[in-house]
């Protein structure tokens, strides 16, 4: 009788002899609820209060659509260019031994550690027409600071580690035997890279690209200094949200925030699916 009752109970956790499950789970859920889930719920609730039409009216304002376009294409450009350079850096740091390799490897995380405001004023100074890099480019007619190109440069800076650190472990795990076999059978280095190494690296590169893209879309601190912040041209969505808040347009800020949250969720979903794909390919 008691055995059948126990069997009928839904087992939502595996039995364990360790203590402390209920208190630790309670603290975790309460803290998560207060800091993250609750506030997000409040934002969605405020958005629901606008009604579908109110929400739609705000997110189809020309300035919102214009800035969304700027955000999307600069983030896409930055992540694409970084996918190339990030792969190069990851490959060189993992495959080759050379003086200064450890230092360079540590430096990859600089954008994680350097506060974004510092990155912002540093990049803005470097790429201004009289800066170290800007002064070289200005005579060629290339202007980076205070244009959309500046946004791309700042985004590239902050998102580089995402790509390098996602791709690096996969390059480390590549079996050199396959490349050696291909080489013995007469494949050129380019053929080996394109037909053997790259297909193995590609899923992780795609994941890194998606992580970088998500980070670029949300970035604010490093961009405001180097972008001109002109609506439709060099203003990104997070800057627009702050502008709405400064004008006390809370409805506008809330609706645009919810839109961005939706985009982030879609990206998160894509990243999770990509990672599941990578796991399947690597068999665990």
């Amino acid at each position: 009788m008691s055995a059948s009752l126990a069997g009928a109970r839904i087992k939502w956790r595996q039995p364990s002899i360790l203590p402390g499950f209920v208190p630790s789970l309670t603290v975790t859920l309460v803290w998560l609820g207060i800091i993250v889930i609750g506030p997000l719920g409040v934002m969605l609730w405020f958005t629901a209060g606008l009604g579908w039409e109110g929400f739609f009216d705000i997110i189809t304002r020309p300035r919102v659509l214009g800035d969304l376009w700027v955000s999307l294409y600069t983030a896409l450009m930055a992540s694409l260019v970084n996918a190339g350079f990030g792969l190069l850096v990851a490959w060189v740091l993992t495959r080759y031994e050379f003086p200064g390799r450890r230092l360079a490897d540590a430096l990859v995380d600089l954008p994680f550690a350097l506060p974004t405001a510092v990155a912002g004023i540093a990049l803005s100074t470097l790429y201004a027409p009289n800066g170290w890099i800007g002064a070289v480019l200005a005579p060629l007619g290339i202007h980076i600071a205070f244009t959309p190109a500046g946004i791309v440069v700042a985004m590239m800076f902050i998102s580089l580690p995402f790509i390098v650190r996602t791709v690096q472990p996969v390059i480390q795990d590549l079996e050199v035997e396959q490349e050696e076999a291909a080489s013995l059978m007469g494949a050129s280095p380019a053929q080996i890279f394109l037909r053997i190494s790259l297909p193995a690296i590609f899923p992780s590169l795609l994941t890194g690209f998606a992580l970088a893209f998500a980070r670029c879309l949300g970035e604010y601190g490093s961009i405001i200094f180097i972008a001109g912040n002109k609506p439709f041209i060099s203003e990104i969505v997070p800057v627009l949200i702050v502008a709405q808040l400064d004008q006390f347009d809370y409805e506008g800020a809330t609706a645009i925030g919810t839109l961005m949250l939706g985009v982030s969720f879609l990206l998160l979903l894509a990243i999770n699916l990509l990672q599941a794909w990578v796991r399947r390919r690597h068999g665990g």
Partner: protein
């Protein structure tokens, strides 16, 4: 030949994109000599920004440390329905723009926010004051400790803890004498990254700060205030403090990765997979 070309290309890219920005911070900070560098830092508004930054970190980092330990205990030591969903929810603040983190606090505690009326009736100020900045910082650094410790604890398994239970240890004894020593380097690693972000956060804190230079400006916000009032050298002097914090963080992080690479390596692999 290919190898040398690739190495040179990668190092040139890194020099241009990572070393130059770092170098320009120190070069601009010292552009008017050491004397004015030191006097920019000794400015009372800057020292009060240093103080505020430290206060925020001293509250936010332990809060996330305690959370990370709790979360790792229930997630890594037990197997229950919804565990993966819980991990995803903990990671959520990573994929949310810091500006939205600030917006959330405004919607909760601002004058027109959910609790705005109640707070102003009781004369409690959260937005444009220290509490709002602390909460926004806790939000953006929320996953830092948890996501370092959970994979490490999962990787290490429960064998030692289970042995301790069978030998009659109490829950607290197991935690302090078995689990904590096992996890200490992972915890330290998480705290290091959490602290760097907490001290350097800009977007979220800028939305909820009153932005009064000398009162509600953190170091990051002071960089902005000075830069916007064209005190470029002073802005870079303050920025150099944050850059040094970043460099110290990187050195400690690399040292940890070097000395404890066995355990941390397993974690990185697990996260990347």
């Amino acid at each position: 030949m290919v190898r040398i070309t690739l190495i040179i290309a990668a190092m040139l890219f890194m020099a241009l994109f990572l070393v130059f920005p770092l170098a320009v911070v120190f070069s601009e900070a010292l552009s008017a000599g050491l004397g004015s560098y030191l006097s920019s830092i000794a400015d009372p508004n800057v020292t009060s920004a240093i103080e505020l930054t430290l206060i925020i970190a001293v509250i936010a980092v332990p809060a996330n440390l305690i959370f990370g330990v709790c979360a790792s205990w229930c997630i890594a030591r037990f197997d229950f329905v919804g565990r993966n969903l819980l991990i995803t929810l903990i990671d959520l603040p990573f994929s949310i723009s810091p500006v939205i983190a600030g917006l959330l606090e405004v919607l909760l505690f601002g004058l027109n926010g959910l609790l705005g009326n109640w707070l102003s009736n009781n004369n409690i100020q959260i937005i444009f004051a220290l509490p709002g900045m602390v909460i926004a910082t806790i939000f953006v650094t929320f996953p830092f400790v948890a996501r370092e410790v959970i994979p490490l604890a999962q990787e290490q398994g429960n064998d030692e803890e289970e042995a301790a239970v069978t030998l009659g240890a109490s829950g607290l004894q197991i935690f302090w004498r078995v689990s904590l020593p096992k996890l200490r380097w992972g915890l330290f690693y998480g705290v290091l990254l959490c602290n760097a972000r907490a001290m350097g956060e800009f977007g979220a804190v800028s939305v909820v700060s009153g932005k009064v230079f000398g009162e509600t400006d953190t170091l990051s916000l002071a960089v902005e205030s000075l830069y916007e009032s064209y005190e470029i050298q002073a802005a870079f002097a303050v920025a150099s403090l944050l850059a040094m914090l970043a460099l110290v963080t990187l050195v400690l992080k690399s040292a940890l990765e070097w000395w404890h690479r066995e355990e941390l390596h397993a974690v990185r692999r697990k996260k990347a997979a």
